[in-house]
């Protein structure tokens, strides 16, 4: 037996137009937390998908517990006790947690030794035991769609444990979690390792790696840069290796230059489908040259504020004024034309049409205007030219350029495309919701710079972010939301991170 539980030798994987993994060799020891660090599209997820049997490598071999294996489906991977928590959960929404966990390997009992049925009770018992053993609190009887993402993730983890997985792969597990939930998850991972499991963590958050990982492999553009011991390496060094150049952590922020008020929100109340007020009497205004950030824990009404301003939901009450004009009842298109850009949180559902090409998606807010069309007839040259400009300017990477179907692009590049499209509208008001969610350091830096640039150009920016660091480093004014109400609006320099945190949790008011 070799010292490694998983060994990948000279793995190469190509996709049309892209070499996703280029001759990567890596060994993972039993009982360690091994992290893969890299920018979006660096090839981390592809590499692990091969270990999980979702793709087969074009070249190279995979060894599990010293034996050469051929993994051509996730079932084969599961048979080798490999489990994976995907970035986008694979759960049946209207099944209970227990049903989801046992799906595919249902324990069968027979009534009178004859009629088979699924032993739900036994399964629930086993799930309760597992959740107690690892501190993963869930109620197996709850329906998945009624629980939040953090619990859904626990279900995914339990699913692996129920299948007796020894090697657990986590693909960007913290992208959708709040800071408290992240802490909880990281603790669980350490717990799992202490119980002898091998953890593979795919992430681009340096701080998480620093906190829990033992070793870390850095990938850049499909190539393995280095494998290093986390304890002996500084965060700065890891960042540099990942991006391939020096990363400046401190952003240079010009002093603010506020001008006239651009957006006024008065007494805004938004009711959700369950007739519950998720935004309650919120009022604020944003001036040109100002970044107004709304900080808050996920699910406290901040998305609904953005949706109401953008016209996606109708407010129950209140007024929204843009440049002095009342736009409360205006159509979405009119708001766009009046000068509003919106980068939504859920980029795959709202931000893009996944089966459209990159160029169609880049033009999706302008297609009806020149130079994209004339008298109702589309001008394809216009689409292509515009797309090529944006691809060049914003470094959007894709397999086949402007004609690439956006579904086949990495999440980070999809986000770059959305940001590029929205900035290119040259709107006076820019709404950014979670603009850097799921992105790597290089891309985050880039987008944050762009946000600052827009502000310096005299635009009004509404930034909604769950990352407190991001809020603190970018905002000129901070509004803290808790339970649908703005608890506090204050110039950023008058607040400390801790104070914002206390307002966010509703501790201080």
């Amino acid at each position: 037996m070799s010292e490694y539980i998983v060994e990948m030798r000279h793995i190469t994987k190509r996709f049309p137009g892209i070499v996703a993994n280029d001759d990567i060799s890596i060994g993972i020891r039993k009982g360690e937390i091994f992290a893969f660090l890299g920018e979006n599209g660096a090839g981390k997820s592809t590499l692990m998908s091969m270990l999980f049997g979702m793709y087969e490598p074009d070249e190279g071999e995979i060894l599990v517990r010293g034996e050469k294996v051929k993994l051509s489906s996730s079932n084969e991977a599961a048979a080798l006790n490999i489990g994976m928590v995907h970035q986008h959960f694979k759960l049946v929404d209207n099944y209970t947690i227990a049903q989801n966990i046992i799906l595919g390997i249902e324990p069968i009992k027979k009534i009178g030794g004859l009629i088979p049925y699924v032993d739900c009770k036994g399964a629930q018992e086993k799930i309760r035991e597992l959740s107690k053993a690892y501190g993963l609190e869930v109620d197996p009887c709850q329906v998945v769609e009624s629980v939040n993402v953090s619990i859904q993730q626990r279900v995914e983890i339990l699913k692996m444990l129920y299948r007796e997985a020894e090697i657990l792969i986590f693909d960007e597990p913290t992208a959708v979690l709040t800071p408290q939930e992240i802490q909880y998850l990281l603790d669980i991972m350490v717990e799992l390792r202490n119980k002898g499991k091998t953890i593979i963590l795919i992430t681009h958050k340096l701080e998480e790696i620093k906190r829990i990982a033992d070793r870390c492999a850095i990938l850049r553009r499909g190539k393995l840069v280095r494998v290093l011991n986390v304890a002996e390496t500084s965060t700065q060094e890891m960042a540099n290796l990942m991006v391939g150049r020096e990363v400046v952590f401190e952003r240079e922020k010009q002093p603010a230059n506020f001008r006239e008020v651009l957006l006024e929100v008065e007494d805004l109340t938004v009711r959700n489908e369950d007739k519950f007020d998720v935004v309650k009497n919120v009022s604020f205004s944003i001036r040109r040259g100002e970044i107004f950030a709304i900080a808050g824990v996920s699910g406290n009404g901040q998305i609904e504020i953005a949706d109401a301003i953008a016209g996606l939901v109708k407010p129950q009450k209140g007024k929204i004024k843009l440049k002095g004009k009342d736009i409360t009842a205006a159509t979405i298109r009119r708001r766009t034309e009046e000068g509003m850009s919106y980068i939504p949180e859920d980029r795959q559902r709202l931000g893009v049409v996944l089966d459209f090409s990159l160029e169609d998606n880049l033009a999706i807010k302008k297609y009806y205007r020149e130079p994209f069309s004339q008298k109702g007839i589309l001008k394809r040259e216009g689409f292509q030219k515009f797309a090529e400009e944006l691809i060049e300017q914003y470094d959007i990477r894709s397999g086949q350029g402007a004609k690439t179907i956006i579904r086949s692009m990495s999440g980070g590049n999809q986000q770059k495309a959305i940001v590029a499209r929205e900035i290119s509208l040259e709107s006076d008001l820019m709404i950014f919701v979670q603009p850097t969610r799921g992105l790597d350091i290089g891309a985050i830096e880039n987008i944050q710079k762009q946000i600052l640039r827009e502000r310096d150009k005299g635009k009004a920016v509404l930034l909604i972010s769950l990352e407190l660091d991001e809020v603190m480093s970018l905002a000129d004014t901070i509004g803290v939301i808790y339970n649908g109400q703005l608890q506090k609006i204050s110039p950023a320099e008058e607040l400390t991170t801790n104070e914002v945190g206390e307002y966010m949790m509703g501790v201080k008011s």
């Binding site: 049309p16 996606l312 159509t331 708001r335 559902r349 996944l354 589309l378």
Partner: protein
């Protein structure tokens, strides 16, 4: 690019496997393979029934005017059969175009048959029974078809947008409503006592030109087919090159994003269903005022449902629909002659259409099989290379 990276299997089967797995070729290869499999399956079926499959297949082609029959009645020839084939191909293709527009916009217009009937009936009553001359009557029939179909389609779209009534439910209801109302009027006012159908519409109003002598045979020139072919390119242009088409596709693929991008989703849905209905209406007038020239009460044209098969088999593309409509129409149109010569019930044609659909619905599975096979072959080749 991908194909070049991997080892290419040789031989006919190898080529087939490659074509099935190829991004671009697969959209042609899958229907072709489906057709071949269908013919094999149908042949087995006919053999089981104790009939000669080759005669049967010839029967379909002969009945559709693609092959000479051994014997023709007076005034008939292969050309009359072929023109008659084109006459029924036209409504099939037009109806399929209606289905395609709906599907591209994310809606399933299963009410094609009802829209056809409404348009056909109104055109028959208002133009077909009038004494108008051909130059006024024919354009008027087309106009009536467009208006009637379009209005029903728009209503279904409006119900969907305004009251969130699923278009499948409302269009099936419209099928019944139309069918019974039309039957009531035919039975009360327009019945032909002998045929028990509606009275025949005037030759001037029909979308065909009858009684042209050509040698010894008398021909009926179907005008609908010109309309249908022109419509194919119109629909293709609409979907690929117009602002309206762009909006409809965006709504069809991701309604939330379309709304976010500022598309008036409601307008787009109503418009798409109206356009879908327009082609249903055109199919109706070419079918009832041009091909059959009378309406059987309480009967919905099965063509309206077959057109769904045509659209799917043609990969929901207007050009693809040309080929798939020809194919399915051969089976439908040729079935009468086939059944009389081979001696099997003509419903066998519907069975064959069904088998064809079944196979073409397995397209993704075929592609998957081809990929598996190719990978296996590539691995084998590699191993042999090593040894």
């Amino acid at each position: 690019m991908k194909a070049k990276n991997q080892t290419t299997p040789n031989g006919l089967i190898g080529k087939m496997i490659n074509a099935l797995d190829d991004e671009r070729l697969s959209q042609f290869a899958i229907p072709i393979v489906s057709i071949i499999l269908t013919i094999i399956a149908a042949s087995v079926l006919l053999l089981v029934l104790g009939k000669n499959p080759i005669t049967a297949m010839n029967g379909f082609l002969r009945g559709s005017g693609f092959m000479m029959k051994p014997l023709y009645a007076g005034g008939q020839s292969m050309l009359t059969d072929f023109l008659s084939f084109l006459g029924i191909l036209a409504p099939m293709l037009l109806a399929a175009l209606g289905i395609i527009i709906g599907m591209k916009s994310g809606m399933f217009n299963i009410g094609m048959a009802g829209q056809m009937l409404a348009a056909g009936f109104i055109a028959t009553v208002f133009v077909g029974y009038s004494g108008l001359n051909a130059y006024i009557a024919k354009p008027l029939v087309i106009l009536v078809g467009i208006t009637a179909g379009g209005l029903i389609g728009a209503t279904i779209g409006f119900l969907k947008y305004r009251f969130n009534i699923h278009e499948v439910v409302s269009s099936i209801m419209f099928n019944y409503i139309t069918s019974y109302i039309v039957a009531f009027f035919i039975n009360t006012y327009y019945k032909d006592i002998i045929t028990r159908s509606s009275r025949i519409c005037s030759p001037a109003s029909r979308l065909s030109i009858t009684g042209i002598a050509w040698g010894s045979s008398k021909l009926t020139l179907p005008l609908g087919i010109i309309l249908a072919i022109a419509s194919v390119f119109l629909v293709k242009f609409l979907l690929d090159r117009t602002v309206i088409g762009f909006e409809m596709k965006a709504v069809g693929l991701n309604r939330d994003c379309a709304k976010y991008a500022g598309v008036n989703v409601g307008k787009s849905i109503v418009l798409a269903m109206a356009l879908s209905g327009v082609f249903g209406g055109l199919a109706g007038v070419t079918y009832y005022v041009g091909y059959f020239n009378s309406i059987v009460p309480k009967e919905l044209a099965s063509l309206g449902y077959d057109s769904i098969a045509v659209a799917l088999l043609g990969n929901i593309s207007p050009i693809g629909a040309i080929f798939s409509s020809i194919l399915i129409t051969i089976f439908q149109k040729g079935s009468i002659y086939m059944s009389s010569t081979v001696g099997v019930p003509k419903e066998i044609a519907s069975v064959i259409t069904g088998i064809l659909l079944l196979f073409s619905a397995c397209g993704t599975y075929m592609r998957y099989l081809a990929r598996r096979q190719r990978e296996r072959l590539a691995e084998k080749a590699k191993k042999e290379g090593v040894q």
